[in-house]
């Protein structure tokens, strides 16, 4: 659906996808009013640094703003308002102050909220919510926590968990233990060599890795005046900690759409969209972590990456304005952990084989390629910026719509 250049567009969610949708609309010449509703009482910001430079104090809130104060977007920001419901006729959204925001098109970019561990049981001890890292408020809480001399357990084996573990070492924690749910963090997704490189780099700085059993629950007890947490692993082993940080994934923020006609995925409640971001209700689009596009549903693309949010926003803003259609590039992610800069591109998540092209895990300079049915589908480099960039650019030039040509239907649907 293309809307007229002067119509009213409402963007629900002031994160990366929301900001880039608004920016794309203006770049494509949309002249009508654009309203962005954000739940937080702060200008739209970028999240990657929340587990790194923001957590160490190297950068501040102003540094992470998405909008350029010297050249701000022409957008009406409604901050500090949650959304409670979507109306199809008239099309619009109700906010928690009772206001109704009518629009000609609605783009939902409400993101996702962090998952946490449940209490071990109602009887045993009390339960204190662990730290998570999703919003700036979450990061601020952890930044204010005194980690000096503390035993820290980070639950999760993804990049967010590993980055956070690295940051906690820098913050002077007495011990940092990662409960990754596998012996080599990332082995299932990225293969053994990469997981080994990550483990070696972390262990060299004193990070410990808990046995590969999954963390299942959390309990808290007071020893005198000191609060002490226990992370309970599958099989019953426990890890003691002063500070527990959960980085075990996120859940799309779509509760407010349950009563609407918007179709959600059964397992994760993500908004089901086609590959232009259109949801099941006419005039409603979704992008970023709250959405599951057709390419995600068919397993062709991974979900939850920064890059996906930016690119989906570009696709939606082009679709709405009738600009030349934008195709999604090869999926891409990056992570900084100690002196490792890890970059992955392509369809690593669905590969059935990997090969080390250059480097070793010990040297922290791996270049690994990923294959499916004998065809190269992805690349991962550790401190290989030029190699990964070249791979991405060559793919962009040779196969601008790779995700459509690869739609063979043989790839299993991702369980998000």
């Amino acid at each position: 659906m293309t809307v007229t250049p002067d119509c009213r567009i409402l963007i629900v969610g002031a994160g990366l996808a929301g900001y880039h949708t608004a920016r794309g609309l203006r770049a494509h010449g949309h002249t009508g009013p654009i309203t962005v509703i954000g739940e937080e009482n702060r200008p739209a910001y970028d999240r990657p640094a929340l587990s790194k430079a923001y957590l160490t104090g190297a950068v501040c809130e102003e540094d992470l703003r998405l909008d350029d104060p010297e050249n701000p977007l022409d957008v009406a920001w409604v901050s500090g308002r949650g959304v409670v419901g979507l109306s199809e006729r008239p099309l619009g959204v109700r906010t928690d102050d009772g206001a109704f925001h009518e629009a000609d098109a609605v783009v939902v970019t409400t993101g996702a909220s962090a998952c946490t561990l449940p209490p071990a049981s109602a009887e045993e001890g009390s339960y204190v919510r662990p730290y998570v890292l999703r919003s700036m408020e979450d990061a601020l809480a952890l930044r204010d926590a005194n980690l000096h001399g503390a035993d820290v357990v980070v639950v999760g084996g993804g990049f967010l968990a590993l980055e956070t573990a690295a940051t906690c070492v820098g913050r002077g924690a007495e011990s940092v233990t990662v409960a990754a749910g596998e012996d080599y963090p990332g082995e299932k997704r990225l293969g053994r060599p990469v997981a080994e490189a990550i483990r070696i780099a972390h262990e060299a700085r004193g990070v410990r890795f808990a046995p590969g059993a999954r963390a299942e629950a959390l309990r808290t007890a007071y020893v005198g005046d000191t609060m002490r947490h226990e992370v309970v692993l599958a099989g019953g082993a426990t890890l003691g900690a002063h500070v527990v940080i959960c980085a075990i994934g996120a859940q799309p923020r779509t509760d407010w759409l349950r009563e609407s006609g918007i179709r959600l995925t059964h397992d994760t409640s993500a908004i089901l969209c086609d590959d232009a971001g259109a949801a099941s209700v006419p005039g409603v689009y979704a992008a970023g972590d709250c959405a599951q596009w057709a390419s995600h549903s068919s397993g062709l693309r991974p979900v939850g990456h920064w890059q996906e949010a930016v690119e989906e926003a570009a696709v939606v803003s082009a679709a709405l304005t009738g600009a030349a259609p934008v195709s999604l590039q090869e999926p891409y992610f990056w992570s900084d952990q100690f002196d490792l800069r890890i970059q992955g591109a392509g369809r690593i998540h669905s590969a059935d084989h990997h090969e080390v092209l250059e480097g070793t895990p010990e040297e922290g300079n791996l270049l690994v390629r990923y294959l499916r049915d004998g065809e190269e589908t992805g690349i991962l480099g550790i401190n290989r910026l030029r190699d990964v960039k070249c791979w991405r650019k060559r793919r962009q030039i040779s196969a601008p719509a790779s995700q459509t040509s690869a739609a063979s239907g043989r790839i299993a649907t991702l369980s998000r």
């Binding site: 190297a58 540094d63 992470l64 998405l66 350029d68 010297e70 970059q343 910026l385 960039k389 650019k393």
Partner: protein
């Protein structure tokens, strides 16, 4: 005062070379068209070496994200970077690449300070 940053022989067409004998480091590029350019090496968004970026049409794309910088003016085209980089004057003396550093203040990314 211009200084010898490198030799033409050190450069690969379509690539950049990081010169870290100066602070902040600079990147010298030899384009496929044969022109030589020098800009600040550090992306203004985040600490990443532009010398490792993708060079095309007299611009370099940051190796980490999609902001591209003009090798001629230093201006940036799109987020996540908001600010351009400094451009330094280049002169060739035989095979020597001589660079006259800009006197403007560098636009370093948040959290990065001059060493």
């Amino acid at each position: 005062m211009a200084f010898k940053a490198c030799s033409l022989n050190d450069l690969t067409p379509g690539e950049g070379l990081r010169i870290d004998s100066v602070s902040p480091p600079i990147a010298v590029f030899l384009t496929d068209e044969g022109t030589v350019h020098a800009i600040d090496d550090t992306c203004t968004h985040q600490d990443a070496s532009l010398a490792a970026g993708w060079v095309e049409d007299c611009r370099v794309e940051c190796p980490l994200h999609e902001s591209t910088f003009s090798l001629i003016s230093g201006e940036v085209d799109q987020p996540p970077a908001k600010r351009g980089v400094r451009v330094h004057e280049v002169e060739l003396d035989g095979d020597d690449v001589l660079v006259e550093l800009s006197e403007k203040a560098p636009q370093l990314p948040p959290g990065v300070t001059l060493s």
